[in-house]
Amino acid sequence: MDIVVLIKQVPDSSEVKLDPKTGHLLREGIGAIMNPDDRHALEAAVRLKEAHGGRIVVLSMGPAQAIDVVSEAIGMGADEAVLLSDSAFAGADTWATSSTLGKAIEKIGKYDLIICGRQAIDGDTAQIGPQVAEYLGLPQVTYVFDIEAVTDGTVVVKKRLEDGYEKVQCDLPALLTVIAEVNRTRYPAIGNLIDACGEQAPITIWNAADIGVMTCDVGLAGSLTHVIRTFAPKGGRQTQMLEGDTGTVVRTLLEKLRENHLVLTDSGVLSAECREGKLS
């Protein structure tokens, strides 16, 4: 079974701060890591390879320093890695990113399965996996938390829903996006990491010309959406201490929740009712 895994290098924090003046990410003192969901995608691929054989190619798009996450992927068990790195790719929105990744996957050629993490902790869009599947015309299953079986040209997976799960059988080739629940990831093997740093490492760098795209179709130039302004939402909590006996406190709490359109559902979980922008 040949598998392509999409991975991304992201800042080592889910709470990156923005410069209030420029709106740019404050990266000082924040390292870079493999996106956590992508690590689970790679682990899923390595387990499938261990069970069924085949090859794993890891694909990433990013600046030169993203070499560290593809090297780490080799450490975890990927056979080969491709890093798409070109100044022309910079500033890509999810459309330009997924079409660029799609082009690279077409060049990689043979695959039975593409596995991605659900979403990256820096953008949180969860769009790349589905858009790559659309670009390549593949069936897709998102939010996968269990890969049950791969037999006779199909894959059987469980997909997490808000209130349960769906068991889905899907023809191959297909694209899966996985959530952290799918597995416990391994740590890279030291020997593989050392190999990944050597000249003979199975890592290839491709630029725009290598995958046959025009620079006007990728990166910022090829993006369908443009960011006008980036800003941190005005936060701030107001804490109110409720006083009185238990009954009074509970009654007051429920009134407050209703006032703010926060009601208790049947399952006892708080959910928000957004009405005419009263909650934001």
Binding site: G31, I67, D68, G75, Y187, A189, I190, G191, A201
Partner: protein
Amino acid sequence: MIRSNAENLIRKSMARFVDNELVPKAQEIDEKGEFPRELFEQLGRMGVFGIRYPKAKGGSGGNCVLFCTVCEELARGLMSLAAISAMQSLMGTNFLFRFGSEEIKEKYFHPAMRGEKVACFCLTEPEAGSDLGNASTLAVRTENGFLINGMKTWVTNGPVADFYTVLCQTNPEKKFKGLNFFLVPADTPGLSRGKPFDLLGTRNTKICEIAFKDCFVPLDHMLGGEGQGMTNLLSILAEIRTMTAALAIGLQRAALGDCIRYAHERAQFGKTIANYQLIQAKIANMAVDLEASRLLTYKAARMVDDNIPCLTEASMAKYFATEAACRAADQATRIFGAYGYSMEYSPQRYYRDNRFLLYGGGTHEILQTNIAKWAGL
């Protein structure tokens, strides 16, 4: 060609392991005081124990710098696990790798690299610590092997080891030139293990006495040429001392990190203690000690990798970094105030664990004597 830097990549990968698997559980593991079998096996699967051996011969293909990097990170999380790993990667397996037959490597070395067998190294005797020439464990040649009799003490991993590399005397008249290393499997008839010592620190590193009574080993279990034991030991002594210095760096980093966090949290007289100059002075001294330790240690590690004789540099690194670790742990118990005296907080563990570093690889009294001699005294 763009490639990652191996030192950075391995440090980052080990740091993730340490932050996820060791730091949150270190206190609990230390309190249990058991050999951390599961973590040991996990490190074996990760190829940590093979880091300083060539890949083509069953290792992971690294070098002394990478070995020290891993030791440092592990020691930042849990000194006892770092000490066990260092034993497994260097002293416990080195002579099997260099002098063992293919059969010995297949049976002991390769499983040790995978974390399936525990290795250890027996040097010290009740009457021979720093004075190894006085070692009296005797290996007497028989027709087809050797009979070993004697006693070793302070054997790290002794209670749990699957095989022992034992320094024996084959010709007492020759003193140092009569010393040889022997592989003695744990199931050898006549080998018995003493009760594990009750230790002040590194409580997961199990240490005991090992007694040998008419233990027979075949001829190929003598590791290295006849009379080469001391020469072979000296050939890895610089690396042992450099590795010990790296362990000390890990402890310093753990203590410094905890102290900085605590100084930002603990408020007295309306402001956090990080604002007080006497606390700042302690943190500054710890930071300077740490940086100086790094410079000495990694200089020695690079010399080991370049095959440059560096026993002086390694001894200085071990001496300085370990003393600095003692100072860091001491300062941590002061910055934490009375909480530093409590078993619930980390400084007590650093304060106890750092003592382990004082003896392994040479006592500081011996090191200072040698350094003074090298300096020209």
